[in-house]
Amino acid sequence: MIRASREDRHSEDPVEPGPVTVLAREQLAPNLQLLTVRAPVIASKIQPGQFVIVRADEYAERIPLTVADWDREKGSVSCVFMQVGTSTYKLGKLKPGDVLSTFVGPLGKPLELDRWGTVVVAGGCYGIGSIYPVARALKERGNRVISLIEGRSKFLLYWLDRLESASDKVVFSTRDRSIGKSRDGAAAIKDLLDSGEHIDRLIAIGCTFMMYQMAEATRPFAVKTIVSLNPIMIDGTGMCGACRVSVAGQTKFACVDGPDFDGHQVDWKLLLSRRKAYLGSETDSGER
């Protein structure tokens, strides 16, 4: 009798997120993958700018991924990631129906959103996916949204249709000029500003070097520049301090104080060096 009632108690549980299963995975561009999972609690809560921590299997590292899209009704969450090391390689092998060992969130503070006027959202690499919900949210708030995306070549860009639907204008920049006039995002933003375009705010998501260059490009124009920092993390809840960054001379934890900071106040040299801390180990792990 008692045992049976104990079983009942399991089903009574009001909050039961259940296992996080893969709904779809597709390659958006070489090395860039889109992963969509079922995670109803996170889907119901997530805001632009927030991230999740993911572990593909029981041996994998915990890695932070910025969220690129979600569907609150279907309870799904999507992330774009670049395959660079062991952990992301594992994510790139997931198939529909697979269960992720960890998919926890939403983590970090939501991005500050308001009606500022003209806002440029700049994305590179995985960030092209991450700026889509940001552009959408800014548009909903009545901003004029310019999406600015960069890549080495046209075939590395993706989600152009989504970005067009969420923006007033899309600006491209490619290293080989296969699309767009500028060689990278920083040059593109500078061209925009030089051409007299009034910009109230820039929000940049992408690799550290790209965000650094963007921040340097807007600095002389004093355009408020928000960057989404991506240092190494473990727990993502403020417990370990691996993700510490220096902003305006103060140590901050990117996972809980960020991930979004004023790009003109970030100590980029420190961030770039801290991101390289385990490059040697990554090689060892890859050779395993």
């Binding site: 399991h10 549980d13 909050v15 915990r62 926890v104 939403p106 417990m239 301090g241 420190l270 390289k276």
Partner: protein, 469 residues
């Protein structure tokens, strides 16, 4: 009532352990534990004194004389049952309690001789039970229909969950990480507390009917207020997860870790088994750990096992003031950890790739006692010197994670983030919300967290039954 006075055996029965030279090359547990014969011999040392103070010394008031008597008689099942009446995690506390300050410190023998090895016997009983196979589940009362959310699966949370499920309440534990156990899994290393033991204890609580929800961050996925819409009470056992830094130059150099990060990589993420596990850790040749508590000892000893040629503790006071358990300091010394006492770091210096290469320190002398009652370190002018290092671990303390207080406006905390509770009940400033363990103390011991968990569980049961706040 004349009782033949017991013969006094002055010293504890030694516990066999791995030799230091061998154990620093592996991650296996250091002591092997007592054999049944050794346990019986040790339990017989108990004087069965008229007014046993050991029980008062125990934060969860285990009936120590009764369990010792049963061990002495060879009734190990009986002994285990007595311990488990008040302690949900005996295999854990038998290993990590600072017994010398608690039960064993109050033992009548301890005034002139070595106390009874109560901790080792507690561990023996718990391990013996585990060895017999899956322990039976006690009969449980019918469900009350009340639901409790426990936030955090560390020692406080597990204790609360175990006590409340046995009262017939429905209990869900929410854990932010992917493994339950809190500090027992991310902090305390395998060689001091094997993770299989934590897993076994958590499984037992789950078999009692407790629901465990992993990878769920309360304060992010759901706020405490949202939990209160679904649950009749919430217990916060979220620990002290926010690591402190020294705020000195060079602290963000690569190779400088908080102890939380260093130990989490090594323990939770199993970086000591890299590249079998994917998470890397810097395997320094010269590792310095700053601090003098258990976490510092754990970090310094972990460094040795990760291949350090030299592992040094840098502590600002003297050996006397070190807050670590006696056994941890002893084990560290046996393993060849170097102690730089009366030493405070003032800066870290890096190489051209921004990796730490030296700690600059200053020597101290001891001054007047401070608020903690320990003598305060006073820097000696111009005594600066440098220690060459390639990894530094900062084990200087931590405070509660601000995530829940920040998202729970009416939850009162002290300036340092410690949640304010009523010490007898664990009640916070917010109706229906209780707290205990490091989140309410700022950082203490596993057993103190369990003691607070017990009090809170009792108060939660009363609250659920009477509805009175």
């Amino acid at each position: 009532m004349s009782k033949k006075p017991k013969q006094i055996i002055p010293k504890k029965t030694p516990m066999p352990e791995q030799p230091p030279a061998e154990r620093i090359k592996n991650y296996d547990e250091v002591p092997y534990g007592y054999t049944p014969e050794q346990a019986i011999a040790e339990a017989k040392r108990c004087l069965e004194c008229g007014r046993p103070l050991c029980v008062d010394g125990c934060p969860v008031n285990i009936n120590i004389p009764a369990f010792l008597k049963l061990v002495a008689e060879g009734d190990f099942r009986g002994a285990t049952n007595i311990i488990k009446e008040t302690n949900a995690l005996p295999a854990v506390s038998g290993r990590v309690c600072p017994q010398e300050e608690q039960c064993e410190g109050k033992c009548a023998l301890s005034k002139r001789f070595e106390s009874v090895a109560i901790g080792r016997l507690e561990r023996f009983a718990a391990d013996w039970e585990a060895f017999q196979g899956t322990p039976p589940i006690p009969a449980l009362p019918p469900p009350t229909g009340k639901k409790v959310a426990v936030v955090g699966s560390g020692p406080a949370g597990i204790t609360v969950a175990a006590d409340l499920v046995r009262k017939g309440h429905h209990v869900s534990i929410f854990e932010a990480l992917h493994e339950p156990g809190g500090v027992l899994v991310y902090g305390i290393p395998e060689f001091r507390l094997p993770k299989a033991i934590v897993r076994r204890e958590v499984e037992y609580v789950c078999r009692l009917g407790v629901k465990l929800v992993k990878d769920f961050v309360v304060g992010a996925a759901e706020t405490v207020d949202e939990l209160l819409d679904e649950y009749d009470a919430v217990f916060l056992g979220t620990g002290a997860g926010l690591p402190w830094f020294l705020n000195i130059p060079g602290e963000n150099l690569n190779g400088v870790y908080s102890a939380n990060e260093y130990l989490t990589r090594a323990n939770l993420m199993k970086a000591y088994r890299f590249p079998e596990y994917d998470t890397p850790i810097a395997r320094g040749k010269h590792v310095a750990t700053v601090g003098g508590g258990n976490v510092a000892m754990d970090s310094a000893r972990t460094a040795l096992r990760l291949g350090a040629e030299e592992s040094t503790i840098v502590y600002r006071r003297s050996r006397e003031e070190m807050p670590a358990r006696a056994e941890e300091i002893h084990h560290a010394e046996q393993e060849g950890i170097r102690f730089e006492l009366l030493t405070t770091p003032v800066a870290f210096h890096g190489d051209s790739s921004n990796w730490v290469k030296e700690i600059e320190c200053i020597r101290n002398q001891l001054g007047e006692p401070d608020a903690s009652g320990r003598r305060r370190p006073v820097p000696i002018k111009d005594s600066n010197f440098r220690i060459p290092v390639d990894v530094v671990v900062l084990a200087i303390g931590q405070s509660p994670n601000p995530l829940i207080p920040k998202t729970t406006p009416d939850l009162k905390t002290q300036k340092d983030g410690v949640v304010i509770i009523d010490n007898e009940t664990g009640k916070t400033s917010k109706k229906g919300v209780f707290a205990g363990g490091d989140v309410a103390t700022g950082g203490a011991t596993v057993i103190l967290a369990m003691g607070q968990g017990k009090k809170a569980a009792k108060a939660i049961d009363e609250y659920l039954t009477t509805g009175q706040w």
